[in-house]
């Protein structure tokens, strides 16, 4: 088990270095120049000299391989440089938004699992009855309704019912949990619905499969309480495939909520991403891509390790 874990952790290093290389060169292939966007953005006349000076200041006039070396050294030493647009360190720019985005993602996961496990289980146990049909309608809704639109419905609903809208300023949860949650619970619910729907359907189908396994019949033949048959024997096996879905959905929530953030007026990673791309802010884009790639890699690692925890067949091979 220890060796398995170490192997998996070591394997993330080449993956991340590969991502760093790809990001750097792909950005350079895209036409466009931050200096021109920045200086000519307002339509004013700018001399060629000013542009050159600015390029020099940002290090964009260095040979590309030198820039690449600087970038890779930065990646390894966790120094992602300074945003070319806001002139503040990339880490700082990202950190502010990450706190919010991460919290929304975690809240959404909690909400999703809270509903998905009982929903999926009930649907599987009461297969082809009204419980199952209702669950299928609800989850199809979750999958087909875009999260931002559902978010707008929530806002409208809040406005109509209470004549109230969630606060706009972000308060960290450790400062004021109530203010924090009154703001973030709504976007989390909006994206959590979809998340829950996908997971519940997964749990339903995998539980149905598990319930027809021989070892479930064995458990019943032993006279195990039906509740225990489901919770101990069936659900634990059925949740294994669901872990993958949960992990993938979770990583999507970091940086993938561009429109939802817009609807709820949140200053999250998604918005920052779009801004930095339209501004050709190389350093910021690179930093964020690395961040999200690292998230994907580590969540996947966590899934693999969780699998090993839950499934002894993986642990011992």
């Amino acid at each position: 088990m220890l060796r398995y874990t170490i192997n998996r952790i070591l394997l993330t290093i080449p993956t991340l270095l590969g991502v760093a290389m790809l990001v750097f060169f792909m950005l350079r292939i895209i036409p466009g120049d931050i200096v021109e966007v920045k200086l000519r953005g307002d339509g004013g006349a700018v001399t060629q000299e000013t542009i050159e000076m600015e390029r020099h200041r940002l290090g964009l006039d260095k040979p590309i391989m030198v820039q690449f070396k600087d970038w890779m050294v930065g990646v390894v030493t966790f120094d992602y440089g300074i945003s070319m647009w806001t002139e503040r360190p990339v880490m700082e720019e990202v950190a502010v938004r990450l706190e919010l985005s991460l919290e929304v993602a975690i809240l959404a996961t909690i909400i999703a699992l809270l509903f998905a496990i009982p929903l999926g289980t009930m649907a599987a146990l009461y297969r082809d009855t009204w419980v199952d049909y209702l669950m299928r309608v609800v989850t199809i809704g979750g999958i087909s309704i875009p999260a931002f639109w559902f978010g707008m419905l929530i806002m409208l609903g809040l406005l109509a019912a209470f004549n109230w809208l969630p606060p706009i300023t972000f308060t960290p949860i450790y400062v004021d949990p109530v203010a924090n949650l009154t703001q973030l619970i709504w976007p989390a619910a909006a994206v959590g619905y979809r998340y829950c729907a996908v997971t519940a359907r997964m749990i339903r189908s995998s539980l149905l499969e598990v319930m027809s396994e021989d070892y479930i019949r064995t458990a019943r033949a032993k006279g195990v309480f039906e509740k225990l048959v489901i919770s101990r024997h069936a659900l634990r096996n059925a949740l294994l495939p669901a872990i993958t879905v949960i992990g993938l959905e979770f990583t999507f929530l970091i940086g993938g909520l561009v429109v939802t953030e817009q609807v709820f007026n949140l200053n999250g990673i998604g918005q920052l991403f779009v801004q930095s791309v339209t501004r050709n802010d190389f350093t910021l884009i690179q930093g964020m891509v690395m961040l999200i790639a690292a998230f994907y890699v580590f969540v996947n690692l966590a899934i693999d390790l969780l699998y090993a925890v839950f499934d002894p067949r993986i642990r011992y091979t």
Binding site: R3, Y4, N7, E213, D214, Y215, R217, T218, A219, R220, A221, K222, G223, V224, F225, E226, L228, R232, H233, R236, N237, F310, D311, P312, R313, Y316
Partner: protein, 686 residues
Amino acid sequence: MSIVEVGEDLRARNNTRPGTAGPLLEVDDLHTHFETARGIVRAVEGISFTVNRGEVVAIVGESGSGKSVTALSIMRLLPRLTGKIPKGRILFDGQSLLDLDDEQMRKIRGRDMSMIFQEPMTSLNPILTIGLQIMEPLQIHLGMTDKEAKARAVELLQLVGITDPERRLDQYPHQFSGGMRQRVMIAIGLACNPKLIIADEPTTALDVTIQAQILELMKNLSRKLNIALIIITHNLGVVARYADRVIVMYAARVAEQGAADAVFHRPRHPYTLGLLRSVPRLDRPRGSKLETIEGLPPNLALGSSGCRFAPRCPYRIAICDQEQPLFPTDTGGFSRCHRHTEIASGKIIWAAAGGAGLNFAANTEAPVLSVRNLTKFFSVKGGLRGAGGTVRAVQDVSFDIYPGETLGLVGESGCGKTTVGRLILRLEEPTGGEIHFEGVNLSTASPAELKAMRRKVQVIFQDPYSSLNPRMTVGQIIGEPLHVYKIVNGHKQGEARVAELLENVGLRREMAERYPHQLSGGQRQRVGIARALAMEPSFIVCDEAVSALDVSIQGQIINLLEELQRKYRLAYLFIAHDLAVVRHISARVIVMYFGRIMEVADRDVIYGESLHPYTKVLLDAAPVPDPTIEKKREPRLIKGELPSHLAPPTGCVFNTRCPLASQECREVIPKLEEKRPGHFAACIKI
């Protein structure tokens, strides 16, 4: 405290009801139906029988005869939505099981009555420890604490012959072999010291040597702890060896029941007669042709009146169209046949089908296939830095097959017999050695020669259910190779040839329109044979070609294979684990163990005067369908299990389990030597 005392102690602890006199289990006129999309399937129709305390009762029957459904009905484990018991009564220890609610029934399951299932590989929960799975019923039914339950679990594992029980409690099912898992299942079944254990095909998935170990264990435990045992099986040998009484089921009904001796020696129902005559047997001289029961079992979704066996029965008369009760017979049993008295008086005997000569090839011709020093290693990948190894699947195997001859290849699972077949078919590349087919060395053959060889060498697979493409009609399946190899010109000729082939294998030509799922297992296997014949082969590899089939169907297919062999002078490599079947069909037999040939000889020599200790053990472990012989002989139980392929034994591969093994056997790899004329064995002790 001894195990028996513990058992009695437990019984005293959990026996809340006063023990009632009379039989332990009484099943009376039980009907079980399944509601399917295609209508109601009457899986069990009016079964009645009793089981006394401590008695071993066997329920025998072919697939679909309702034997497993009977067991599940008693346990009340039928699928909830579809399985229904519209009629009948099940009395267990004085309680009417069908009148209990789910909670009352749950209290009986696993405590007074437990069940052991067929598939040890899938019947244990893969993510829970063995310990937890054994302790579960103890804690639920007897309210034991963790400590008590653990102590009892250790005892149980010892009882079923698992060494080092404390350590093994924390292991998971995948760390156990199939035989060991079945032992764990038995331990779970025994946990609360039940009054009745139902074992549904407990050894069908296991090798013959392991089967003997498991059955012996169950029988001894049942005697020692006075537990009644219902064994459900299709293997008549198992029944003969272990059962006190036998219930023969056919098409959802009891055909005959009685004491084991009576049913085997004096059967009073034509189906029992036919069944006993259609199994190839190790204890009798090989007949020229297997006697078979013609036809197929009826479809249970269609209701019918009269005797269910009548359409296949050679003694059918007018009265057979009427419903018949279970008649008490002169042997003290019951038979559902109007003519049981005529059978008893010897007026009716099963007419032996006329046989043809034996297929002994004159070995003067050149062999059709000749294999020399064939070797195949598989490399197994380990982790990143590779704790992998090499599996020596086949080592140094040599043999010849002559035209028109059948060479049998027997061995237990993992002995490399299937790999030999795959190497000959060129589905695997050999690591070493040579294969010559009709004089052509296959490893140096040109693509054109290989193509010709692929046509001449065909295969019949084990599983007729998964080896036919479900989306193709029978006609397309058989016709495809005809068109690929341009054996026929155009569509019309193709159809004509398919029809001819179907008739050759005993199917009607209309079958060409059907899809595989519309056929029975035996019919599918016939389609597989027709497909192989389409290529006009000279050599066919039969890889467990009849093992998935029921006894009565198996006989039909074996006869078909022999008939085709005579007609087309086919050579067969007949790979199987069933010693009796191999004996029946083969002229010569190879016995393999752990990748190596142990013994080669003519059929009668192998079965009559085998030399190698492994062959002897193998033959001893296989029960024959005769209770008198079986009850007399003490089984020479082979100890231990197959060694790991990653840590093979040094010297002779069999030394870890061999009764004759000495220090020398652990050092020298024995050569296959001609010990007597035409009789080769690899053992230094002979």
